[in-house]
């Protein structure tokens, strides 16, 4: 029961924001490029369900368009991380102790050593702030996360009897990695994937908040929070909408991940009920 509850709540919450992002391409309640100073900093009304900002722009419309930025940046960044990190981790584990393993391991350490925000700062200082540079910065940081997790978990699997059986039956290292190691890691990778996706949304928000992510006039949730900060005592509702949008999206994705994991892995489901 618990299984499907997580899945349903998670899918609903994250689905809501994905739909909001998609709908925003076709329609938003108000045109956010029209500034309406007379209507600025309005608290929520039926005409503006989430109120208006300091330029009189409709906050609901901005949150909808902001969803696009967040979801797109996070999706591509985690894709980069998984696409590069998992194969690297599998290769390192399959050839434990080799030069390849050592190089991948030290490479991971090196990227880990740069907190993602520092990479972003350096990239931004060099090439200028933009959403693309934010994706690269977050993506690079995701690679060693997946590589290390994959290697660490694959190592313990390589010692298990069923892998020895596969080796004895003559399967190659690559085949064992793909057919036996990877499926046994999928559970861990889904959990880490959802954490990384939510972290990527949080990282994008943080970068936009300090002005290193998507640039105005493109709305982003982090940028909206930065704008609202100086007015928080006068108009707290300005900070609430984008903040809650981030929390619900991240929460939804995490619940969805948990729900999917429980459905995929009957062993965990038995443990829970």
């Amino acid at each position: 029961m618990n299984t499907y509850r997580n899945l349903v709540i998670g899918a609903t919450l994250s689905g809501l924001f994905v739909i909001a992002a998609l709908v925003s391409f076709l329609w938003v309640p108000y045109d956010i490029e029209n500034l309406n100073i007379a209507e600025r900093m309005r608290t929520p009304t039926p005409a503006h369900p989430l109120g208006t900002d300091h330029f009189g722009r409709d906050i609901l419309s901005m949150v909808m368009i902001g969803a696009r930025t967040s979801i797109a940046v996070a999706f591509v960044a985690v894709g980069i991380g998984m696409g590069l990190g998992v194969p690297l981790g599998l290769a390192a584990a399959a050839h434990k102790g080799s030069l390849l393993d050592e190089v991948i391991g030290r490479g991971n350490d090196l990227v880990f050593a740069f907190p993602s925000l520092l990479i972003a700062i350096l990239i931004t200082a060099t090439f200028g702030p933009s959403a693309v540079n934010a994706i690269i910065a977050i993506g690079i940081f995701n690679v060693p996360v997946f590589a290390r997790l994959t290697r660490g978990s694959a190592l313990s699997l390589w010692k298990r009897e069923f892998i020895m059986a596969a080796r004895v039956s003559g399967k190659t290292t690559v085949r064992i990695s793909i057919e036996h190691i990877l499926p046994n890691l999928s559970n861990l990778l889904i959990v880490q994937g959802t954490i990384q996706f939510s972290l990527a949304i949080l990282a994008e928000a943080a970068l936009s908040y300090v002005g290193l992510g998507a640039q105005p006039p493109t709305p982003s949730w982090g940028r909206m929070l930065a704008d609202s900060q100086t007015m928080i005592s006068l108009a707290p509702h300005l900070a609430l909408a984008p903040g809650l949008a981030i929390v619900f999206t991240v929460l939804g994705l995490n619940l969805l991940g948990d729900g999917l994991r429980d459905v995929f892995d009957p062993r965990l489901r038995r443990g829970r009920t």
């Binding site: 102790g97 090196l110 907190p115 350096l122 200082a125 060099t126 908040y209 300090v210 929070l225 903040g243």
Partner: protein, 315 residues
């Protein structure tokens, strides 16, 4: 163990060298000449050339790299282009804000996460577990800077228990400094504690299903004894990985949180230095942070070996 330590030490040094080359090269391709930037657009060419010579920018990048590295090894980080003060002094002042902030946050996060994670794992499937996991789900989802803004709204603006930002300096007394760092440290720690508690729980739950746990119970240990003596030690590897990782999250997070609370720490120093083209400050601060994280990763590797004797033998 000595061999394992030595191998890790060598890779630590290699990592530091590669990191320094990467940072130096990235900063080198930043467009704009610091000397021209400092003197403004109306400066004479020979004035700019003189300033370049004074700042040591007229020699080749390779020479500058070695001067930079050599200086850092003796604690001399060079002189700030903008303020004309030693970078070591500038970093020193700000380190006393950023480092305590990250360390307090790390300590808070660990202190909250361990008991919470262990409790949830040992009562897996119960109401306690569900409630704890619900809270950690929420904690993981909250951006720390937004949480910080909400705390400012509640505890600084409405209740007036803390100041909304700024730092009085440690000269004003330890307690005054600590008070100024309380809201920032809590905003940094809570989301991290949620992540760590979840990792602790899931690592422990995985261990609880292992055969050796059944053996431990079969030989007469009760559930609690089995968890403390056998499960925890085995669950520590993923937990240590995350704690090591969190240090770099906290350093990066500190940069953001310093902005929310207007704390004059290393993060604000980097942003100021970038906007003023004070490259020597940017590269030195980034190198220092990277150095800290590489050394922490090294410590985590050594800690692995202490926790898990199998790793020692493999090396």
């Amino acid at each position: 163990m000595a061999r394992y330590f030595l191998i890790r030490l060598v890779s630590l040094v290699i990592s530091l060298i590669v990191a320094s080359v990467v940072i130096f090269s990235l900063i080198e391709i930043i467009p704009g000449d610091p000397a021209a930037f400092m003197l403004g657009i109306n400066a004479q060419e020979d004035t700019v050339a003189a300033l370049r010579a004074e700042l040591g920018l007229d020699v080749s990048p390779v020479t500058r790299y070695f001067e930079w590295i050599g200086g850092m090894m003796t604690g001399d980080f060079g002189t700030s282009y903008t303020y004309r003060t030693p970078v070591t002094e500038m970093i020193g002042e700000r380190l006393w804000i950023s480092l305590p902030l990250a360390l307090i946050a790390l300590a808070l996060s660990t202190l909250i996460a361990f008991p919470v994670g262990i409790l949830a794992a040992s009562r897996r499937g119960s109401m306690t577990d569900t409630v704890i996991m619900g809270f950690t789900q929420l904690g993981v989802a909250i951006p720390n800077f937004w949480f910080a803004m909400l705390m400012v709204l509640v505890f600084a603006i409405n209740l007036r228990w803390f100041s909304a930002g700024g730092f009085p300096g440690w000269d004003e007394g330890f307690l005054a400094g600590l008070k100024a760092l309380t809201l920032p440290a809590v905003s940094l720690a809570l989301p991290q504690a949620s992540i760590l508690a979840r990792v602790m729980r899931s690592a422990l739950v995985d261990t609880l299903d292992e055969d050796f746990m059944r053996t431990a119970r079969a030989k007469g240990l009760n559930r609690r004894q089995a968890i403390w003596r056998h499960a925890l030690r085995n669950a520590m590897i993923p937990v240590l990985t995350i704690i090591g990782l969190q240090f770099s999250f906290l350093l990066a997070g500190a940069i953001i949180i310093e902005n929310v609370f207007f704390l004059p720490g290393l993060g604000r120093l980097i942003f100021q230095a970038i906007s003023q083209r004070d490259l020597i400050v940017v590269e030195s601060v980034v190198m220092l942070l990277v150095f800290a994280v590489i050394v922490v990763n090294f410590a985590v590797d050594i800690a692995y070996a202490l926790v898990d004797p199998r790793l020692r033998r493999q090396a």
